[in-house]
Symmetry: C2
Subunit: 396 residues, 2 copies
């Protein structure tokens, strides 16, 4: 069976992706340096509930299903570690004991990046960390595949945030530009709202260089904010549930509103609230990554998909969560607060996102029902909520 | 008088730029980590003639003209060093002894990058170095200016190589795109031919983020390959002449052809030789940087100029240098060799470069006469030429 290597396998998406492929018979290896855990500890912006280590999760998964997910703990900014994942040389597995190299992976899912826009803008040090981590891990991966395993398909997470909020329709990665009577095809123009999002523009540029220069095969999934905690695999054992962050650094707006609804704090809308973004359920992320794995590009091609299933304004999200909360007995207000971010609060937004639908994805939508379920899940952990972390005051 | 800070002040352009501003009464501070010298030593791809250290050059300059160029030796990948250039705190001057902080600079000229495309593609380590050096120095500069001196004008060197060779006319940095009945203005689409050139796309994206988010003032000079050694200041003393590299890493095509003509080696044209690029004389680079200094953008604006004065195919350059060499008694052949690079060898190329001309630059063109003068200058050092470094075999 095919071997899938997941970089950043301890993260919000990494662990559910590992279980998803493992449950379907793939050989799965995960690598992580625990950055997310360490930074949450260091800045005291805890996750809602404690999460077993990656090794413990692999052990629980094995016990419950019989499947083996191989675990390596290390920092992929080290090019030698990255290269060893393709050769098996000097590879230290944390789990299982006496693991054998599963061979050079047919597919790499690259999540090993610093994913927080506010973190990237705390100060020059976190900005530098974001740029160097995200660029160097991606470059290490690109060179390892070029040098050691050129047929490997790289699935890289991008973000819809790379496009920003242009005044023209957003296409899926590419645009044909007519100019003074001539024409050419280019990457869709991108200008992002944070250093993190800018680092993702750079990643895409780097991978596109690798595709057209060395014939690499890359899929770039331009994802919107993901919501949801449960997947088909996590429901087997409560300890397999993925991370839930609701703090200003790693929590996205839907998580923040859900936690605010539970503690009875007004849902805080930044600025006018007419900022539109595309959103996706975590179950659909797994469907999309799997569909990408089954449809690798040809050598030299960069396939780009816009990985969202629907769009909402912040005001619409607030209204939806207010209503869902009300239905199950939590009455909350909506409060407009000064926007800590530099962004357009009213803008045109019309992204195309048919590519993944055409590959057969069946979307889960954000409905009153699905929000109610999320509120009910989070409500179980209401005693753990630390309201101080919802707003720690990062501005840009 | 205004204070100009030159990052990468020991380089091919850095030192002539320092003398240019110093001779015109500006306070000038230069910073360098001697990367270019060290890497030329390490890889044994020497410069044509020895160059005094930056401190020695500042001393000679002072002795000959009375002007003082302050020298700091250090690595700007260290954010604390970068920040100290704007505060004066803990700043260690190499020269002059007992130097006093000249105040936060009104203008920064940022040359402190790894500028070689072949070096960036030697292997994964040099690629990583190029990305981290170029991105982190730029980011350190951006944050230092934002945090400590927001009115400072940043003049950053870009490269025409960022645009690649698109099938549409190349505008000066920006393009209005009409798409499905709507319109917006974007950075001109860029896709470059090396990791180095890709790092420059990233720099531009980073600085544009800083402009629109924090109101920085940035000029980006998209320069073509520069040729020439002598400037109005260097002719005062032979030891003030800038670096001449003719090796595969740091020498550009014009330097290589001149050295080949002198040693009687055929001028080696890569592939079909119909690759077109824009070129500029080093004297014009100085004019352009000075014009940019006198015309700072408004807060929040990124001014982009295409810094070339004419375009040539490689075949045209070879023919020009062959003729000039012939006129002064060096008969050389032209030889087409297999192209070690991945690039289009026949392509459309029509860049716009009127912006700097409109600011009053008087171009120096590459003529038979000017090539003859360069051949005569290099001929003086013919005993120093090491023909082994012209082709060391880097491929991508």
């Amino acid at each position: 069976m095919s071997h899938v290597l997941i970089l950043g396998g301890d993260g919000y998406l990494g662990w559910p992706t590992a279980m998803h492929f493992s449950a379907r018979g793939y050989k799965v290896t995960v690598v992580d340096n625990y950055f997310r855990r360490h930074i949450c500890d260091k800045l005291d912006v805890g996750m809602l509930y404690p999460i077993p280590t990656l090794v413990e999760r692999a052990r629980i998964w094995h016990k419950q299903t019989g499947y083996e997910i191989q675990v390596i703990i290390g920092d992929l900014i080290d090019p030698e570690l990255m290269r060893s994942l393709f050769t098996g040389q000097n590879l230290n597995y944390q789990w299982p004991v006496n693991a054998k190299f599963a061979g050079s992976p047919e597919t790499v899912v690259h999540y090993a990046e610093q994913p927080s826009a506010p973190y990237s803008l705390m100060n020059y040090k976190t900005a530098n960390f974001t740029l160097s981590n995200n660029l160097l891990v991606t470059n290490n991966l690109m060179f390892a595949v070029k040098d050691l395993s050129p047929d490997t398909h790289i699935i890289k997470l991008g973000t819809m945030g790379e496009y920003g909020t242009p005044n023209i329709d957003i296409e899926e990665g590419w645009i044909d530009i007519k100019h003074k009577g001539r024409e050419d095809r280019f990457l869709f123009p991108r200008q992002a709202g944070s250093i993190y999002h800018t680092s993702k523009i750079m990643d895409t540029d780097l991978m596109w260089f690798g595709c057209r220069t060395w014939g690499l095969k890359v899929t770039d999934l331009m994802q919107g904010p993901v919501y949801g905690m449960e997947t088909s695999e996590s429901i087997i054992d409560d300890r397999l549930k993925t991370i839930f962050n609701y703090d200003e650094l790693f929590g996205t707006v839907i998580n923040r509103f859900i936690v605010q609804a539970i503690v009875g704090h007004p849902l805080t809308v930044y600025g006018k609230g007419e900022q539109i973004r595309g959103y996706i359920n975590i179950r659909d992320t797994l469907q999309c990554v799997h569909a990408a794995e089954k449809n690798p590009p040809k050598s030299g091609e960069l396939n780009i998909y816009n990985q969202i299933m629907e769009t909402f304004t912040v005001n619409q999200l607030a209204a939806l969560i207010q209503e869902a909360a009300h239905n199950i007995g939590h009455n909350v207000e909506i409060e407009k607060v000064k926007n800590p971010r530099i962004e357009k609060e009213e803008h045109y937004y019309n992204p195309n996102y048919q590519g993944l639908i055409n590959l057969g994805i069946t979307p889960h939508y954000l409905t009153i029902d699905s929000v109610q379920k999320m509120i009910e899940t989070v409500f179980k952990y209401r005693e753990y909520i630390d309201t101080n972390v919802i707003r720690i005051g990062i501005q840009w």
